[in-house]
Assembly symmetry: C2
Homo-oligomer: 444 residues x 2
Amino acid sequence: MSLQSLSGFRDFYPGDCALREHIFSVWRASSRAFGFSQYDGPPLEPLELYQKKSGDEIVGQLYNFTDKGGREVALRPELTPTFARMAGARHRDYKKPLKWFAIPQLFRYERAQRGRLREHFQWNGDIVGEPSLSAEAELLALIDHALRGLGLTREDYVIRVSDRVFWLDFLADRGVTDEKGIYNFLQMLDKIERTPEDEVRKKLNQFAGSYNLMLRSLEEEKREFADEVFTLLKTGTTGSFLDEIKEKKTASPRLNTLLEYCDALGLSDAVEVDLSIVRGLAYYTGVVFEVHDRGGKFRAIAGGGRYDNLLKLIADVDLPAVGFGMGDVVLGELLRDKNLVPSAADGDSYYLVITDETLRPQALTLAATLRAGGYRADYPLSAAKVGKQFQAAEERGHRFALIVGQEYAADGVCGLKTLATREQVNIRPLIEHGKVTSLAPVAC
Amino acid sequence: MSLQSLSGFRDFYPGDCALREHIFSVWRASSRAFGFSQYDGPPLEPLELYQKKSGDEIVGQLYNFTDKGGREVALRPELTPTFARMAGARHRDYKKPLKWFAIPQLFRYERAQRGRLREHFQWNGDIVGEPSLSAEAELLALIDHALRGLGLTREDYVIRVSDRVFWLDFLADRGVTDEKGIYNFLQMLDKIERTPEDEVRKKLNQFAGSYNLMLRSLEEEKREFADEVFTLLKTGTTGSFLDEIKEKKTASPRLNTLLEYCDALGLSDAVEVDLSIVRGLAYYTGVVFEVHDRGGKFRAIAGGGRYDNLLKLIADVDLPAVGFGMGDVVLGELLRDKNLVPSAADGDSYYLVITDETLRPQALTLAATLRAGGYRADYPLSAAKVGKQFQAAEERGHRFALIVGQEYAADGVCGLKTLATREQVNIRPLIEHGKVTSLAPVAC
């Protein structure tokens, strides 16, 4: 019996791997276009690193174990703690703001469910040392640039921005400052899209009741607590972004500033305000955001926000930071859904057809000089009939067949056949210093 | 106290990561130029996969553990077993010969030694379904292409080819067919470069004595067993490759054929025969090879060979295969040694200098349209003096500063300063459909 791979881990056969690498190459190109430098950390870290950031309850979701040296270690569930450790340790060696990106593979161990993955790849972009909202705007522009580089349009996706601190201020202003109360309130917002409005309103009013907030709402605002919350939420979701800027309609001064930057960066029709977004992770300290497909068919494409306290916690360095993560799984599903998977045959490539085995040495030399000249070239590794060779050229996704026959041995002339159209011309490879520098057409 | 990473795991800060990514990009480009398709497998596999290939003794070197579900698993020490599993499982879906490559991170757990790594990246190239030596030749040409793509020359490295089966035939011919005898003999060859010749000769003759081989050697060859072995070794190491082909001097018919292919592929001055190379791994079934720096300063740069039985063992499919691995660590050391590390400033990039904060919205829009047009552009995220901005442009490795002043707001004209030469000209960014399409010079 042949062996199986572990449940939740993917085999990347060539087609799947080509899509993965296409995504990675766009992520890298966009990052570089924006002046981000690539970094990476170990896929295995001390368990303590994740406990320090997220508390002991995180351990249940981690792919952690005791290594042969008795150390408690974990396959990284996210890169941010590693990033905080690295950036914190050597931040003096780099100019601030520091703009870094990475494409780590991440791991988690949850109960096995059908189709549930235990690993995925994630593009991470982070800016350290910049307190202003121009850092958030820069990340949103970067995300938008990459999604468009993958062929998506702003009709396919939307970047929803929110402000976690706005709600903390809102609660503090009403005397709710205990962790549990804050948590419960944010949980209600987080679930708002998946819960009937009646039920949310009921829960909000119950919450208000337990904190004696009802009276204030009724007295000052002439309405119930739930009404007040829904009104605030709706200022952010009326859709027209430009109206919101012009009228300074969002309830958060931070979002108003962010929207101005976004407008200058040409993101007007990509960004919307949605104050119901609070993000699960407790370490966010300001603006948070999520990217969704507009059709609402998939989970979030990306998410992130400001985390000004994490470098202090992990690396004892007081530096503001903002970052995002974009996974390969949902993005891949969306690209497939939108028919944006690139074809295997990317660009020109040549398959040498060897018409007579005695010509094999000449064909090998031609393949070598083509490749040295920057051409993509392949040839049959063993003798095959000419018809089979043309078939192989097509099946392997080559654009051209280059026919090496007696005319090549005698005069250096090959037939060049465009496989899609069956058109054929004669060409003479020009070889200089062991490299093919051109494939010049030859008059018939 | 800040947290440390695990011993033996590397942090890739931007400079180190840039070198790593440079190596990866050349590996990928060479693979594609040769018609190889990229694949990947899980970094974590069932322990059994490695036991099946290498026996139980391998476990001592593995980064293995029991997972939360009670499964015995291991971080992959090599990709070949995964490759054999994957290629074996779906070989019918792909045309043979199958040419695949990957760049996995690999892991091992050995006693911690200073500077000894527990992970590295490795470029793997494999051909499945081709029994002829043209497959080996193709891999050697691929390795050579990549090393030259990294800036190395054939004066920096040499590809040493050998034939494991030649020695197995040699021993069988003399009646030595037991595994232990074969192992002991190959071990002696493997250590020949690090052992004084006297000592090797003594051990070879002792070995011959224990198998009663001495008599035959003396009778037929008129010399001692050790002499015979050394004479065979030297036919392969006389240096001049072309002489060896012409005179069919190597003792292995397989190597003679391989050398003919290598000659046609332009590898004459890259490849040498060295029959002392046997490779540690027992699963090789034919030609084996190693790549070394000619200076002999480093460990092997790459190694590989034919393994015609592994797919049968792992996936119950009878397909011949040949492959190689090239690690990032020794290669990186060699590139540093030869001063072939690319500089951080790769290609044109633009840093926008904002002369007046009121111009920030225009500068942001210009940055966005530059990036949309395929330019690499960056700008200060918060207000800074103009002198500081020029300094930042240089420190971040940009080639140009693009000065956004009142003239840009009024007439769309920017100063373009080449930072290395301090030369400055006026240009007008041409913006079409939200993208900068050119930076046209403006007459003074």
